[in-house]
């Protein structure tokens, strides 16, 4: 009884050579170090005094509020339109579906400064909107939200798409034969089974919106979001002056990321229960 598994074990070991594992670990740690080192360095270099100063920094606090609210607005508005799009992509087969999926991904590959310029042609001063509304959305919180939404909405749509795709369509079909309308099936079967993944996509989109710099700075230098504030202080006053604002921004994003992992964790639990 015991011999067979042991024999298999040693064959297993021979296949996975230790030197190879060593190389994997070494190369892998370079990547991890590369990510972690700057973050740890900046945290260590920032004293509590500086952070305390940041807490009393009116301009910084205003910019953080603006950034969080603009990103949240972008996320909520896009949830109303992006989640149905995700459902459509997951459930329906139609001509042009692949092209539609590619279009959704476009904002990820377009350089964000260029995306900002492109947005100006739609919401800027010279655009139709600009001629009607006296200046368009340039330099407004709404404009900032639009810029954030443009660059971060793919994360929400793609998360919704895969969330709905993970719901077995047989459940929806069984519900239809039991007498539920398509809308009721969506509300009572698809959405309850997909909402955690969608929520993950929303948090992801929010975080991506907060960290956006390129597209936002084209649309609005003022009012100033935190990434732009960090950039400005670095340019005007140097490293020491921008550090505390940068640390605060990093901490906010890490906090959002932790929330995202927790949401994803629930998802993991649910998947295991399903299996």
């Amino acid at each position: 009884m015991l011999v067979a598994p042991l024999a298999r074990q040693s064959a297993h070991d021979r296949r996975r050579l230790p030197w190879f594992e060593l190389v994997l670990i070494l190369l892998g740690s370079v990547v991890v170090l590369f990510i972690v080192a700057p973050l740890i360095r900046i945290l260590l270099a920032t004293s509590f005094g500086e952070l305390g100063g940041a807490a009393r920094d009116e301009q910084l606090i205003e910019s953080i509020k603006l950034t969080l609210v603009c990103a949240a607005t972008a996320t909520l508005v896009c949830t109303v339109t992006g989640v149905p799009l995700g459902y459509l992509l997951a459930r329906k087969r139609f001509p042009g579906r692949a092209a539609l999926m590619a279009i959704v991904d476009l904002p990820i590959v377009i350089p964000h400064s260029a995306a900002g310029i492109a947005l100006l042609t739609v919401i800027g001063r010279q655009s139709l909107l600009g001629s009607v509304t006296d200046g368009g959305l340039v330099g407004t919180a709404a404009g900032i939200s639009v810029a954030m939404a443009f660059v971060s909405v793919p994360f929400l749509v793609n998360a919704s798409h895969s969330a709905f795709a993970a719901v077995p369509s047989r459940l929806e079909r069984a519900a239809r034969t039991l007498g539920a309308s398509p809308w009721r099936v969506f509300r009572t079967v698809s959405l309850p089974l997909a909402w955690r993944d969608i929520l993950g996509g929303m948090v992801m989109m929010w975080g991506r919106g907060i960290s956006e710099f390129g597209a936002v700075i084209i649309i609005a230098y003022h009012p100033m979001t935190t990434p732009i504030l960090v950039f400005e202080r670095f340019g005007d006053y140097g490293l020491a002056a921008s550090r505390s604002a940068a640390v605060v921004l990093i901490l906010i994003c890490v906090a959002i990321f932790i929330v995202l992992r927790i949401v994803a964790g629930w998802r993991g639990v649910r998947r295991r229960e399903d299996a």
């Binding site: 079909r173 034969t177 399903d274």
Partner: protein, 364 residues
């Protein structure tokens, strides 16, 4: 009552071609075909989940081809049960009623009654993932039956269950059908299952309905060789007489577990017949001396024709057994088979035909 008129549907690898089927009010119809022949597509077209490329679906003479599933009320029970994982058993069963606008308390009361009827009241608050296969299947049935569907569509309802549970659920399905007089379309790849439940059978091969009829008609007069091959129609034996637990076939008295007075034919799968050089003790009640008539290749196995006096049988054996038994024409051997391996054709169908007539009369 329900009629499919020359339905054509292509879906990935599946193709239905000129599929025509007509079901009678209150009957239990088994649609039988090999796995992957597109039987589920037929169910989904009937349920309204798929639109046929060509052809039409009629219900009591009315064209329902474009009627959405929620307005057809043909409950479909999937092979994997498709219970809603985020809802308790009670909420699952009440789902269809709630979808029809019935208030929550009334829907739950009705759901509870249905659970009681299917003897699974104790599962009421459980989550679907904690249930066994048989329990899930009962919940899925309860969920379908509680909406009092016009028709029950079953997709391989017993395929994923082990033997014991399968036997019990088979009985349950028969009970439900007899009690409600509901029209049932049961899709399966299992010949014995179709035979034991269906009042009429349809044989589906290559996306087409090859033959329909009572088990008698299909088994005794298969329309072509492919139907016969699919059914494994070797060893269909005309019964000469029945006396308590024994049937006489070609002058040989064989023990039959489920024989009834009206059994007209027995059928045994060639795989169920064991050949041996010497007699041996076993729980199988049929053991006879026999002589090898001839043999032929049957796929990777061998089909050996044997004669028990006047009774000709075919047994399927492996090449190894063939060598070990030194099989040659005229060799003397022993054959052994269980009384429960003999399936009765005729009695089930005639008994249930009576039921069908009764339920139709009741409805009429």
């Amino acid at each position: 009552m329900l009629e499919l008129h020359s339905i054509t549907k292509s879906l990935g690898e599946f193709h239905l071609r000129d599929f025509t089927l007509s079901l009678r009010e209150g009957e239990y119809f088994s649609l039988l075909g090999p796995t992957g022949v597109g039987k589920t597509i037929v169910l989904e077209i009937i349920a309204g989940l798929l639109r046929p490329d060509e052809g039409s679906v009629h219900w009591h003479g009315r064209d329902v081809t474009s009627l959405p599933p929620e307005q057809r009320r043909f409950a479909l029970v999937y092979q994997d049960y498709a219970l809603f994982p985020h809802l308790s058993v009670l909420r699952n069963v009440a789902y269809g009623l709630r979808s029809r606008g019935i208030a929550s308390t009334d829907a739950c009361d009705k759901a509870r009654q249905m659970l009681k009827l299917l003897t699974i009241s104790h599962l009421v608050d459980r989550a679907p993932e904690t249930l066994s296969g048989g329990e899930k299947q009962r919940v899925a049935l309860a969920r379908a039956l509680v909406i009092e569907p016009r028709m029950l569509l079953l997709d391989e309802p017993l395929a994923a269950l082990d033997l014991n549970v399968r036997t019990r659920l088979r009985r349950l399905l028969r009970d439900i059908h007899q009690r409600t007089g509901m029209t049932v379309l049961h899709v399966t790849h299992d010949v014995e299952e179709a035979l034991s439940l269906g009042q009429r059978l349809g044989i589906m091969l290559d996306g087409q309905l090859q033959q329909t009829g009572t088990p008698d008609e299909v088994f005794l007069r298969p329309t072509d060789q492919r139907v016969a091959d699919f059914l494994g129609l070797r060893n269909v034996l005309p019964v000469e007489a029945v006396r308590n637990g024994f049937c006489v076939v070609a002058g040989v008295e064989v023990a039959v577990a489920m024989a009834s007075r009206s059994t007209r034919h027995l059928w045994i799968r060639p795989e169920e017949i064991l050949l041996s050089a010497e007699p041996f003790d076993s729980s199988a009640r049929n053991q006879f001396e026999c002589r090898v008539v001839d043999w032929e290749h049957s796929g990777s196995l061998l089909a050996v024709r044997i004669a028990v006096r006047e009774l000709l049988l075919t047994a399927i054996i492996t090449h190894t057994s063939f060598r070990e038994l030194a099989i040659a024409e005229g060799a003397d051997l022993y054959c052994t088979f269980k009384s429960s391996a003999l399936h009765c054709i005729g009695d089930e169908a005639s008994a249930s035909d009576g039921d069908a007539t009764r339920s139709t009369a009741r409805r009429g």
